[in-house]
């Protein structure tokens, strides 16, 4: 007889214990955050469809106030439709932020995983390199990269990505070091798992929540950083629609035709806010494990 002690099933099926209740408590917020994220991405994806006009060509009288002449957000100093420019700027800011975050997670995660798993000298060397990158200020690197490779949005993104990954490397490495001290890693070693397997199966998944939470809260930061770089003239060259640049170059109109700089500025704010709320949602979802 193989089974000596009868297994008594718990009163509730095990899978329904604990976590679903927590999810339910935060459920409404998470749904709101998720739909916000979907909405932001949809707007970005559908910008060409949603935009009523060509964002680069003048399409009406300059400096029309919002609502007049059929322009919902008005027109700028040379008669381009601000709504169309904001939508296209939204699109490029959002996808640029996602691209930098993704590259940061990939590079930083990999370096953090390697450093955290190996420990010792490899850890020290990799982390000192990381610290070096961490010390670089984003605008200076951007200026350097643009100076070296020439202007262009892609180059700006490369510059930002270069200074962005070290955050993730530090976070992932820290999580991995904590996890590596837990008994389940030793148990996995005894079960015959090799270094690579332990790193990928028994360590990495545990570091994902922290990295993803940081990343999601980071999107807002990135949108602002990219806007700031455009503001400094390091972003997309004119006349491409860019939220930061549009705000910066039109500041002179603030007192007379306020909508020209304010509308793209509000778009930056909404984007950052949406990303932060979504980040909170992700944290609620993953943080309460």
């Amino acid at each position: 007889m193989a089974v000596a002690e009868p297994y008594i099933a718990p009163a509730t099926p095990p899978a329904r214990r604990g976590r679903p209740a927590i999810l339910r408590a935060h459920g409404r917020l998470d749904v709101a955050a998720a739909s916000l994220l979907v909405l932001v991405t949809l707007i970005a994806l559908l910008a060409p469809v949603l935009a009523p006009h060509n964002p680069i060509q003048p399409v009406g009288l300059p400096m029309q106030s919002p609502g007049s002449g059929g322009f919902l957000l008005g027109t700028d100093s040379i008669g381009r439709d601000i709504l169309s420019r904001v939508l296209f700027g939204w699109r490029s800011s959002w996808f640029a932020a996602l691209a930098v975050i993704a590259s940061g997670l990939l590079i930083g995660g990999l370096i953090g995983l390697v450093a955290g798993t190996l420990g010792g000298v490899a850890d020290t060397v990799l982390m000192r390199i990381t610290d070096g990158f961490l010390a670089l200020p984003a605008p200076v690197v951007a200026i350097a990269v643009v100076a070296a490779l020439g202007g262009g949005f892609v180059h700006t993104l490369i510059a930002v990505a270069v200074v962005w990954w070290p955050f993730y490397a530090r976070i992932v490495r820290g999580e991995i070091r904590l996890l590596a001290a837990r008994p389940h890693v030793e148990a996995a070693r005894l079960a015959g798992a090799g270094r690579l397997r332990i790193a990928v199966r028994h360590l990495l998944p545990g570091a994902v929540p922290a990295a993803v939470i940081t990343a999601s809260l980071d999107v807002g930061n990135l949108v602002l950083t990219l806007a700031a770089l455009s503001f400094l003239g390091l972003g997309q060259p004119q006349p491409a629609p860019e939220l930061g640049a549009d705000t910066a170059h039109n500041l002179t109109y603030l007192l007379q035709q306020w909508w020209i700089p304010v509308m793209p500025g509000i778009a930056v704010m909404v984007l950052a806010l949406a990303a932060n709320i979504a980040g909170d949602g992700v944290r609620n979802l993953l943080g309460d494990r």
Binding site: E186, A191, P205
Partner: protein, 672 residues
């Protein structure tokens, strides 16, 4: 005491220091209502020690917190009933009133003094805060038996041993002569010998100060040592309440009777499956409508699942919440245990003794093959002590041989090096010196104390067990079959393979850990205190399981434990370790029955048991940072000679005269 006025105005509370009436406490966790306490009534009389015994989840700690007026405020639990201490309302009273009662009438001791003492303050200042003056603080520290109290005042909590820290907590608890001290598992984190010391201290304090104690514990043996009356709590309800001797020896409730019987002691029967309590505590979010113990009760009847029995007086001062007449319960549990639910017929028939007493120890003809041989292994860890790096000598030359299929228990206090030894054999640590030889079978596997932490939380049980089959070149279906087989072997249904560790109970996790270790049977199974974190009833189940797996799979078992009574039932041989050396080694029964080394003798005497007063060896275990010269045990040894402390004296394991396989490392054995 300032209770005189209250006591005078309410004469009926003269007797009772604290009174709990029909108390219910429900915590809200999202949509779940966790019913921690469900209609409990009891009183703590003046000057008595009331033992509150229950498994984890029985609501005993919540009850203690409600007496302290320290139930969580946010989110506040839903409560009904009444809790009064010295006549003051601790349930609905204002925060100020409750604080005043705590200051004047209550003291508290918790399980882990490291977390309840402020790590940034010298203990002296903390005790003075409670005591009011420095003189009083020193007096209290002396009263709780802290040697060199004046000097100790300047220590930080981390500089004290666990036993001393708990004494400091007790000193703070009795400061101001409280009427009642709530002690929540005060000895659970301590070694047996220190536990015996602390229990003796609590007993003497009660006699000297006359305060009452509410002793919350999961261990009937601890309650038996010290309590005047025992209240057995089950699923938030009182199962039985009565004088200690009655509850222990003439239990009227099947749960307390089963608890007593499943408790391991130095006289538990060896060589057959331990008596266990099947099943688990009901889910506090949805307890059954009838008697909460009904699903696990061997004597349950149909009506038990319908109505919840209230505690009724079965004899003066003896309450039991069972519809059966006490005589029937006593008869069912008293002489020959009834065929319990777990001891199935064929298992009873195939009753291969856990300890093959007939093992031909002296049969030189067929020397059994060796599963693991440890030769003169030493291991020193570099640790930080203050600003210096010092060596922690965990193992100081240990040799041990485990035969194929044999079970050896390593017993010792914390700091004895017993866990390090397992880890060295497992290959998790590298020895500084000496050698490990393993048999040719599958490599050693280990079962950890905290099974939950040894299971990767995001992987399914199936993936974790299957990981050990990776090199067996099996298809996915075959692998799944093997996993299910391994789960069935430890008594778990196949669907557990899809669960994650966090969704399982403590007992289920330990079973999963065992299934993982045995899906490919190792030559040696290493068990590192696998039962010390489990409730009594679960511990017996796991021990049975280990014994059965060992028998069926032909594994050798090396079992580390601090509990001699556990060692005695799981092992053929016991190795007693002290400060990184084996001091005694021999057949389990003989080591316990006639210990030879003074340390083993002290260990045996310190085991808490029903109806026996354990004798505590005075003093603190020596530190592995600075082992005493000569025999490391000499500073605590009651029969030490000057020669024992000679730095050149190295006690070696010497065969006892006339006994084949017993060895002792003591100067007295050498003289003989």
């Amino acid at each position: 005491m300032t209770t005189l006025d209250t006591a005078a105005s309410q004469p009926d509370t003269m007797e009772a220091v604290a009174r709990v009436e029909n108390l219910s406490i429900t915590f809200r966790r999202g949509a779940l209502n966790i019913q921690a306490v469900r209609g409990v009534s009891l009183e703590v009389r003046r000057g008595e020690i009331l033992g509150l015994v229950g498994e984890s989840g029985s609501g005993k700690s919540v009850l203690g917190m409600s007496l302290l007026g320290l139930l969580p405020g946010e989110p506040a639990p839903v409560t009904s009933g009444a809790v009064t201490v010295c006549g003051k309302d601790m349930l609905n009273g204002s925060a100020g009133l409750r604080r005043a009662v705590r200051r004047q009438h209550l003291g508290a001791v918790f399980q882990d003094p490291m977390t309840s003492l402020n790590p940034t303050m010298r203990v002296g200042r903390q005790v003075i805060e409670a005591a009011g003056s420095e003189d009083e603080a020193v007096r209290l520290l002396r009263a709780v038996g802290i040697p060199d109290a004046t000097r100790r005042m300047a220590s930080f909590p981390h500089e004290l041993s666990g036993g001393l820290r708990q004494r400091v907590m007790i000193a703070m608890a009795i400061a101001g002569r409280p009427a009642l001290v709530i002690a929540d598992e005060p000895t659970t984190a301590l070694d047996v010998m220190v536990q015996a010391q602390v229990l003796a201290l609590l007993r003497s304090l009660r006699d000297e100060i006359g305060c009452s104690f509410l002793m919350i514990t999961h261990d009937l043996g601890v309650a038996a040592q010290i309590a005047d009356r025992i209240a057995v709590l089950y699923a938030g309800r009182i199962a039985e309440l009565g004088p200690t001797a009655t509850v222990l020896h003439a239990a009227a409730h099947p749960y307390s009777a089963a608890l007593t019987r499943s408790r391991l002691s130095l006289s538990s029967e060896r060589g057959r499956p331990l008596v266990t309590l099947p099943g688990e505590v009901p889910d506090p979010a949805g307890p059954p409508p009838g008697c909460p113990f009904e699903p696990r009760c061997a004597l349950a009847r149909d009506e038990c699942s319908v109505t919840m029995p209230e505690p009724v007086e079965v004899a003066p001062g003896h309450l039991s919440a069972c519809i059966l007449p006490p005589g029937e319960v006593a008869a069912a549990f008293a002489p020959a245990p009834p065929a319990s639910r777990i001891t199935t017929l064929d298992e009873a028939a195939a009753d291969v003794p856990a300890a093959p007493a007939g093992r031909p120890a002296s049969a030189a003809a067929a020397e059994p093959a060796v599963a693991a041989r440890v030769q003169d292994v030493a291991k020193t860890f570099r640790v930080k002590s203050g600003r210096r790096r010092v060596g922690l000598q965990a193992l100081r030359g240990v040799s041990l041989q485990v035969a194929e299929g044999e079970s050896v228990a390593i017993v010792g206090e914390s700091g004895s090096g017993k866990s390090t030894m397992l880890r060295v054999i497992a290959g998790l640590e590298r020895a500084d010196r000496g050698g490990i030889t393993l048999g040719r079978g599958a490599g050693p596997q280990m079962v950890f104390q905290d099974a939950g932490a040894s299971l990767t939380p995001w992987l399914t049980v199936g993936a974790l067990i299957g990981e050990r089959l990776r090199h067996a070149h099996l298809g996915a279906a075959q692998r799944g079959e093997r996993v299910e087989e391994a789960l069935a072997h430890v008594g778990l249904p196949a669907h557990v393979a899809r669960a994650r560790a966090t969704q399982l109970s403590g007992g289920q996790r330990q079973r999963v850990a065992l299934a993982r270790a045995t899906v490919v049977p190792p030559e040696v199974l290493l068990c590192d205190e696998p039962t010390s974190a489990l409730d009594v009833s679960l511990a017996a189940v796991v021990l049975n399981l280990v014994a059965r797996l060992r028998r069926e799979l032909g594994m050798a078992v090396l079992f580390v434990t601090h509990d001699l009574s556990v060692a005695r039932v799981v092992a053929d041989r016991i190795a007693v370790m002290y400060l990184g050396r084996i001091v005694e080694l021999g057949p389990a029964e003989q080591v316990v029955a006639s210990p030879q080394h003074p340390y083993t003798k002290a260990l045996v005497r310190a085991v808490p048991d029903l109806g026996v007063t354990p004798a505590a060896l005075p003093g603190e275990p020596a530190s592995p940072l600075d082992p005493p010269p000569g025999c490391a045990f000499n500073p605590r040894c009651p029969v030490a000679e000057p020669a024992c402390a000679d730095p050149d004296f190295l006690p070696r394991l010497i065969k006892l005269r006339g006994e084949q396989d017993r060895t002792v490392a003591c100067i007295r054995a050498e003289v003989n």
